[in-house]
Symmetry: C2
Subunit: 210 residues, 2 copies
């Protein structure tokens, strides 16, 4: 139930979806381990942690396993999500095809400047004034923040006060959560800095070798 095991669950799901498409009926912990580049014991440990069991000698039924994982990840139904901040990143996420495939539905965008409306197909964009009523009317639980960093904490506080339970934050600032809410900060700068660091470190190593 730690963060890593949740992430792996998400990866198992994606592997299993491909196996299902290919017509596979069963799968062994060893296969999934290979797909993720981990040990088979890890796979079995993860499953046992979430109460998923297979058949000794017979492995796991692909269909059943997928159903179990989807239930755990809350993917047995469509999740309605809103996006606050309709700049480049917000708009890109609205148009992102991958979400639809995973039963994640962006049902509205919010922005201080409603003139951006033209850019997106089929997803309405409202002014910030509508935020509160919309969240209540649609019982929205999950929101994506894609506003500039200076506005991010204020938007987060608003969302939390309106009853949002989970936030995915793209603003380059670590949001502090007060109360019963999950905040996942995606820091693009940090991600590319990691790449740059390791790429440089690798080059340095090569320099030493030669």
């Amino acid at each position: 139930m730690n963060e890593n095991s949740i992430e792996r669950l998400s990866k198992y799901k994606s592997s299993l979806q491909k196996l299902k498409t290919l017509g596979f009926l069963k799968v062994f912990s060893d296969n999934l381990a290979d797909a993720l580049g981990i040990q088979s014991a890890q796979v079995r440990k993860d499953f046992s942690l979430f109460g998923i069991s297979g058949k000794k000698r017979g492995g796991y039924n692909v269909e059943d396993l997928l159903t179990s994982i989807n239930t755990i990840l809350g993917k047995d139904r469509i999740e309605n999500v809103i996006i606050v901040g309709c700049g480049n990143i917000g708009i890109a996420l609205m148009n992102y095809r991958g979400f639809v495939r995973e039963k994640i539905k962006i049902i509205a965008g919010f922005d201080i400047d409603p003139s951006r409306m033209a850019k997106v197909e089929k997803i309405p964009i409202y002014t910030m004034e509508k935020l509160k009523d919309f969240i209540h009317a649609e019982s929205v639980k999950i929101a994506i923040i894609a506003v500039p960093d200076i506005a991010a904490q204020r938007v987060a506080d608003l969302l939390i006060s309106y009853g949002i339970k989970g936030i995915l934050n793209f603003a380059p600032i670590k949001l502090k959560s007060q109360g019963e809410v999950v905040i996942n900060n995606v820091d693009l700068i940090q991600e590319i800095e990691k790449v740059i660091y390791y790429a440089n470190a690798m080059d340095d190593d090569n320099g030493k070798e030669s």
Copy 2:
């Protein structure tokens, strides 16, 4: 030198930049620990790991610390980066202001469909045919992949064969790296699934309590 310590280095940097703006001259491990929500021992351990030292009783000099961290993260100069795939996410990244501030310069985009050119200011977009020559001519070491998942592995293999050393991948597929290259996979689906899982888990807990 593990992945977590690199990530923290990136966060220290961002805290230090703010402190510098505010005119702070020195900082204690305790201050940085508070800012990141970790223990001060962790901060000192990280610094000692990277050979950064402070003054007993006097803490760390903000300016010097920032310089040291920037050098380690390779941020003492502008890093030229290219983006392959100029769909919504690619374009959003090209327009992302945060990169400029961090000395990350997107110098070109590449796409099979060059008609997208109109959308971005000042960053040229070329056809895939120009990729090889451009990488060689400009000695590009870092690339961002923002193509659809089916094309991602092929693009990655191309980039690697052209000498790219670090890849930040936004396609929802775990790329396999052969050889001397760093690949950092940013999986947006996975990030939002984590939020949904924890938000649901939190709601379930509340249900039990009441």
